[in-house]
Symmetry: none
Subunit: 135 residues, 4 copies
């Protein structure tokens, strides 16, 4: 099972639409099941620094099959996996990255959104994911 290019495009366009509707400027990255970049879009005037953050959020989400925000709760000082961000060439452990599952709940890729507040990034990621679950 792996995400298709059409699914990845659908997700990115749905996430971008959500970002526009809520007036947030973001970078949106989608990886496949192997954590390799599948699709990407950067909205005009969004942060340049968010290119890498968005891609790393998506990769992180797939590397550990986890909402990046949930990962971040475990990586704080004193946390059980403190500083795991230093592995894998750099991980991102705050909200905005999420695994993408198909209708059978199998992980087929991941999305990473960066540029807004962490709540906004996560909401936009979620809107993207939902695009391929709708009929």
């Amino acid at each position: 099972y792996d995400i298709t290019d059409e699914e990845a495009l659908k997700i990115i366009l749905a996430a971008k639409k959500e970002a526009e509707a809520t007036d947030v400027l973001v970078n949106i990255a989608v990886t496949d099941a192997g954590a390799h970049l599948k699709a990407f879009i950067r909205m005009d005037e969004s942060y340049l620094g968010s290119i890498d953050v968005a891609i790393k959020k998506a990769k992180t989400a797939r590397y550990f099959n986890i909402d990046t925000g949930t990962l971040g709760e475990l990586t704080q000082p004193g946390g059980i996996i403190y500083n795991i961000e230093l592995s894998n060439g750099g991980l991102v452990s705050f909200p905005g990255g999420m695994p993408i599952r198909n209708k059978d709940n199998v992980i087929i890729g991941a999305i990473g959104v960066s540029g807004g507040s962490i709540e906004q990034d996560r909401a936009i990621a979620l809107a993207g994911i939902k695009a391929i679950l709708k009929k």
Copy 2:
């Protein structure tokens, strides 16, 4: 002057359409005028190694405002800029990367295509670029 996200998407979709019409599996990257990734799509079953090559082709084309194939003629052993590929974190100097110009001939970004033969990659890049010049 800078490419917009809508233009980048239009270019990527046109390049993908050309690739599908000619039965080639490619990765397509578009950068903005600052040589930063603006949009990207990887076609299903295209080479994993072409992700980075496509992005580097687009960056190379904008770094030097040149068709990457033309650059490659200068970087061969004995060439005037031999091994310039080692700069900038890795350049790609064979065909498939091209600057994107607007209707006034101002460079607003670049496209990089990888996955087919170098002739196919270049033709697909060209088809992408033409998409924003058409009325």
Copy 3:
């Protein structure tokens, strides 16, 4: 004194067996006395992000001849070697990495396990190490 390839394989297979017996999906890395990768196995469906974490755990354990969990107690904010994880191309300082000693208590390599809880990773590492101490 250095670990042999046969010992490394034995350790990896014993660790994998322990992981299977306890229903944990892990990546297992073994380095030699020089902290260089000697053997590695990734169990099916284990985290992709654990490849690098397992290897870094093993390297960290040998770099400082220490249980990585013990190291982590010293690297917290306010700790005496705060942020040492940033050295050596990235260290991992939570449990799952341990030096491997021969029957004479000489360090001959290290093991790193990643994919389960930190307690599970450490237990699996320990099971691996014990494999070359048994008669």
Copy 4:
């Protein structure tokens, strides 16, 4: 379709056996279909520098679904993809890396062997691959 840990181990052990039978000291790496490290073994006294070469050979073979020796014919000065080795964090374009196919000819991973002559490396890689095709 993806290689299993049991298949990867079988390949590595068969390649190691071939290396021993022909008196060659090598590093052997196997990646999965996503080009991620799946299994690895370094024979005693083989080159330390071959760890990275073996892994990069396997990745290169999967990145472009090609025998790395065949790739190398295209990357020479004047070749159509001169210097592509500089992409993807470093590729290896001499023999010893090969895609692994299952019985239905689907690529499920790749193997990389380094430490002997390029002919020896390639022969050992081939012996590894054949291990999962035999009944």
